[in-house]
Subunit: 236 residues, 2 copies
DNA sequence: ACCAAAGGTGTACGTCGTACACCTTTGCGG
DNA sequence: CCGCAAAGGTGTACGACGTACACCTTTGGT
């Protein structure tokens, strides 16, 4: 009878449920709202209970990274290494875009988890399978930097000054004028989407385009060096 | 007489002294040791006294970033835009290397400070002066990403597993063996410095070389696109 | 001589991660 | 069926942290 008097027998926690709840909470409420206490609350458990499943908060974050890395598609069987790598990295990008906090957490990790190592190992393998030398591959990985993860850190994620959508348009125009005299080059760049006259202030940038632009520029560079048998003793 | 009974009349704090002390403390003890309390202690003052000079800790960090940005050399009068930009960015890199915490703090900023905007504006101006279109310059800035600041975030700043210098060499060899079977590509890459047989484990990478490799690959890519009159409607 | 402002103090609150001792449930070998 | 160890969950407590708020002290201008 003790079995069914209470609403639900509460299946015991485990590391996986903890990690997935943490990911869900970060997705919903933002990474800054994820504390051991809030996560415990979410799981109807007292904070200290979590420590039976993760050693500490750092390891919780490590685990969350591995959950996200697990969402990246396995290598596709493309003909050429360049497009295979391109696809894989764009898949990583999609995974990271689904979890906006993930890039910041990845950056903050101090040592790599097994999942991360697996992913890096496999990307390196794709370069090697394409015939690039270990040396060139090494430099290529460095050149990609965070782009292997599908993100580039924003110089400033939000906007300069106060939020762009507040205040009256008059004050906003004045602010733009100030900006234009103090930072003319920035304003020119930001305003210059080729010629679709969408709105006065050019709605920011097409992140996806920017990402692919840089990615392709780098991959093409690697290919060019590869074809001409470049080795790291030379400047190009 | 009250003037000289006490050891020193303690010149009053100001924003600049606070910022410079914060930079010095972060340099000496690491950014994680910088708290409002520790900084106040350093200045022989009670924590709340700092709030008369900086609004809160975020603004303190903003101010510290501007101090570092102020250390970047002004543009040199190079003949061509490419080497001018290259020199400037390498100067930024030197500034950031003097303050190992700075890149992490820059990444963490949520909106740009005036000093940061000045720097970006001036780098953009250098591209424009070289004749690149606003559009290509825009993409170039995105492609550079954190490299304009002279850093690329490390995939893993330290080493995998425990510190490399601890434990007996036997256990270390075993660990390397494990790594080699689980992550063969990573191990191959890390071990492959062309052929200077320095030591079995190839002392990591030459960061400066890796940085310049990627920087030059990108700058060369921009130049190539610029010469062929590329516009962002095309894939290259 | 006075007074406002600028600069510095002290106390207190709410949040965080987590150490440590304790209780409860569970599954297994006798 | 019993008992008992391990696994899982609890409660309390500590020492950080950033910072609100009320207060005192010094100082420069009239």
């Amino acid at each position: 009878m003790t079995q069914q008097t209470e609403p639900a027998r509460r299946t015991p926690l485990n590391r996986d449920r903890v990690l997935r709840a943490a990911v869900a909470l970060a997705d919903r409420a933002g990474i800054e709202a994820l504390s051991m206490r809030s996560l415990a609350h979410e799981l109807n458990v007292v904070p200290m209970a979590l420590y039976k499943h993760v050693a500490n908060k750092e390891q919780l974050l490590d685990g969350m990274v591995d959950v996200i890395v697990g969402e990246i598609d396995p290598p596709a069987g493309d003909a050429d290494w360049k497009s295979a790598i391109r696809r894989r990295i764009l898949s990583a990008r999609r995974a990271l875009l689904r979890h906006p906090w993930a890039s910041r957490v990845i950056e903050s990790r101090t040592s790599p988890t097994p999942g991360v190592l697996d992913y890096l190992n496999s990307i390196i393998g794709m370069f090697r399978a394409g015939g690039l030398s270990p040396d060139l591959t090494h430099h290529a990985m460095h050149a990609l930097g965070s782009r292997v993860w599908g993100f580039t850190q924003e110089l400033f994620p939000a906007s300069p000054g106060p939020a762009p959508a507040d205040a009256d348009p008059q004050a906003l125009a004045a602010l733009l004028g100030e900006m234009a005299t103090r930072y003319p080059h920035i304003v020119e760049i930001v305003l210059a989407r080729p010629h679709d006259g969408e709105s006065v202030v050019g709605q920011g940038c097409d992140d996806q385009f920017e990402f692919e632009f840089a990615l392709d520029l780098l991959l093409d560079g690697f290919e060019r060096l590869h074809r001409q048998g470049w080795t790291s003793a030379e400047r190009f």
